[in-house]
């Protein structure tokens, strides 16, 4: 928060530096005009909903969402969450989903970026194909994979049977044990390209001279990667992992379309559960309380995100 830009003073060199905050705001009043439209839109659609969610979480609101009939219940909604069995199950699912998706997407994306870093014939085409899953709609992706996992006519099951590995096609997404891993595979399919793009751009910033110097000094490929390349990528890696973690924590479409949280809540994660509580069972208060808890968790993650980003910025200004 203490990043002060020298260049920003470009047109205001004559402004006295040590004045009160109000004075400063007044002097810079024209600058706010540029950000004002963005801020107004954000206020309507962000600040208001956040206030509203916190408010709702302390009330019991009737199913039809008639706000004038809501009853104040204090922390009852929060108590209801923490004492329910589903909460712990869903939390465990969410952790599995977020950690596995993030770690594997990042690892696969990073490895693909490294493999694509060197120029070879067809590299552009290869890169384009690998990125496509990230561009297409998650709804389309969910249906494609639902068909691939189909318990009677799915292609994976058919291949396994044709190769005599199994007697009959397995039930990937109708079985409590396999549903979450199966959905994670779909999620990674959509997400590793993002990590790949970020890491490919990061790799371009690693100075060639350093790598060549290390090679002359006799460092092997692994040593060059570990001691030269990797330290250079620590910042972009942090940002990528945080963005992936947040996106995964907030996933909705894939589990919602493919299984709707089932069977027996085995693929419910926080977001799908909140959605079902609110719009399925119309327990608005409990859903709002869940949202507030989620909000607190995300603010914590957000703190690290901002720190990683301002680390970048500080480096850049210093350079």
């Amino acid at each position: 928060m203490t990043i002060v830009t020298g260049q920003a003073e470009m047109s205001r060199g004559a402004v006295p530096v040590r004045t009160g905050v109000l004075r400063k705001i007044w002097v810079h009043r024209a600058d706010y005009a540029y950000v004002l439209p963005a801020i107004v839109v954000m206020l309507i659609v962000i600040a208001y909903p956040i206030y509203y969610t916190i408010d709702l979480s302390f009330f019991k609101t009737p199913p039809g969402l008639q706000l004038k009939d809501k009853i104040f219940v204090g922390f009852d909604n929060y108590a209801a969450i923490l004492t329910s069995e589903v909460f712990w199950k869903v939390t465990l699912n969410t952790l599995t989903w977020t950690i596995a998706s993030t770690a594997l997407s990042f690892a696969l994306g990073f490895a693909a970026a490294l493999a694509l870093h060197r120029d070879f014939l067809g590299r552009g085409v290869m890169r384009a194909i690998l990125i496509i899953p990230w561009v297409i709609s998650a709804v389309a992706a969910s249906y494609i994979w639902k068909w691939i996992y189909h318990s009677d006519f799915g292609i994976i099951g058919a291949v396994l049977v044709e190769l005599h590995i199994l007697d009959r096609p397995p039930n990937f997404i109708d079985s409590v044990n396999t549903v979450l891993p199966s959905l994670i595979v779909v999620n990674i399919w959509r997400e590793f390209p993002f990590a790949m793009i970020m890491m490919m751009a990061g790799l371009q910033t690693v100075p060639d001279q350093l790598l060549r110097a290390a090679k002359v000094d006799g460092a092997n490929a692994w040593q060059r990667f570990w001691h030269v390349t990797f330290p250079h990528l620590s910042n972009v890696s942090t940002v990528t992992i945080l963005l992936l973690a947040v996106a995964n924590f907030n996933s909705f479409i894939i589990p919602w379309i493919m299984t709707g949280g089932g069977p027996a809540n085995a693929s419910h994660i926080w977001i799908t559960h909140i959605y079902e509580l609110a719009f399925g069972r119309q327990r608005w208060g409990v859903a709002a309380a869940y949202s507030v808890l989620l909000f607190i968790i995300l603010m914590t993650l957000g703190y690290f995100y901002v720190r990683a980003l301002s680390g970048n910025e500080r480096k850049e200004r210093g350079a």
């Binding site: 002060v4 470009m10 047109s11 705001i25 810079h28 706010y32 005009a33 540029y34 801020i39 839109v41 954000m42 659609v45 909903p49 969610t53 969402l65 490294l114 493999a115 694509l116 060197r118 690998l130 990125i131 496509i132 899953p133 561009v135 297409i136 709609s137 709804v139 389309a140 068909w147 009677d152 006519f153 058919a158 399919w189 751009a201 371009q204 910033t205 350093l210 290390a214 000094d217 006799g218 460092a219 092997n220 001691h227 972009v236 940002v239 947040v246 907030n250 379309i257 977001i271 959605y275 609110a278 719009f279 949202s291 603010m299 901002v306 301002s310 970048n312 480096k315 850049e316 350079a319």
Partner: protein, 295 residues
């Protein structure tokens, strides 16, 4: 660095291991290509089967009688399925285009201000804009639904455009700020010395230079709006207002066994964004990484 100088294996063994890594990379890429492409290829193969041919075990790896019937059905305005599909397609196109135009016009001045000026609260505002991206739609869903009801926007494209703008904006601002940071400030200073106002310097010098950034931001907004599901699912329930993701879901719930039709619809839905992306991917990839990676 120090560790790399301590160990010095013979050159020959260094080179041999190097090749090993290279081969590992190639094999890995082939596996990833397989993982990425097989689902998409299977989608295409299924979409040219008849409903009967798709439901066979073991499956026909290549359809005995390839047919474009599913595509014809979806794109035929005379047919009721085709009517719906084309209407959803048009709704998606309308919402995505308007969202893109509005987002870019709001994001350009904001990103420029964040990049160039220092005003009190600049960093606070910038990071609060970014933080917006951290929150899932679900948090905003109920209050926004109430807000839209208040504004009379439920079941209109307006509700989607307003919401899409806000989740598109943070990223648009972030992407564009990266571009403005890379435009040398001296260019504007020269113009200012020649007597141009700040606004004029912005419009005549900076705007033309940032066209690649604006293109990238526009693609990003468009793809985001085109693929959005959860708000559309909540705000719209009239058949003639639905966008494609919801339309396809409805199609599937009504024709649970028509997998060729579903795959053809998924394919047609992906075509615009994939084409847009492939044509303009240079801008897109560059912009996305500009914010996180500094050259």
């Amino acid at each position: 660095m120090s560790a790399t100088t301590e160990t010095s294996p013979s050159r020959a063994s260094g080179r041999r291991r190097f090749d090993g890594w290279r081969w590992a990379g190639r094999i890995f890429l082939v596996i990833m290509l397989f993982y990425t492409a097989v689902p998409m290829i299977w989608m295409l193969i299924t979409s040219i089967k008849s409903g009967f041919a798709a439901m066979q075990f073991p499956p026909q790896w290549w359809p005995d009688e390839p047919t474009l019937a599913s595509y014809q059905k979806l794109l035929d305005p005379q047919n009721s399925v085709g009517q719906d599909f084309l209407r959803f397609f048009w709704n998606s196109l309308f919402v995505s285009t308007i969202t893109t135009i509005l987002s870019v016009s709001v994001a350009v001045p904001a990103a420029y201000a964040f990049s160039r000026f220092s005003f009190p609260g600049r960093n606070f505002l910038f990071f609060s804009v970014l933080l917006r991206n951290m929150f899932p739609a679900v948090i905003f869903l109920v209050p926004l639904f109430i807000l839209m009801r208040l504004l009379g926007l439920v079941n209109t494209p307006g509700s989607l455009i307003l919401t899409y703008m806000t989740f598109g904006l943070p990223l648009a601002i972030w992407l564009l700020k990266g571009f403005y940071d890379n435009i040398p400030i001296q260019l504007e200073q020269a113009a200012r010395i020649d007597g141009a106002t700040r606004l004029r310097a912005f419009v005549t010098i900076v705007m033309p230079l940032s066209v690649p950034g604006i293109i990238a931001t526009a693609i990003y907004s468009f793809i985001g709006a085109w693929n959005e599901y959860i708000y559309a699912y909540t705000f719209l329930n009239k058949n003639d207002q639905l966008t494609l993701p919801i339309g396809i879901q409805r199609f599937f719930s009504e024709n649970t066994t028509d997998f060729p039709g579903l795959m053809a619809a998924s394919f047609l839905m992906s075509v615009p964004v994939v084409v847009l992306f492939l044509v303009l991917q240079r801008y897109f990839v560059r912009a996305l990484t500009e914010g996180a990676v500094k050259h």
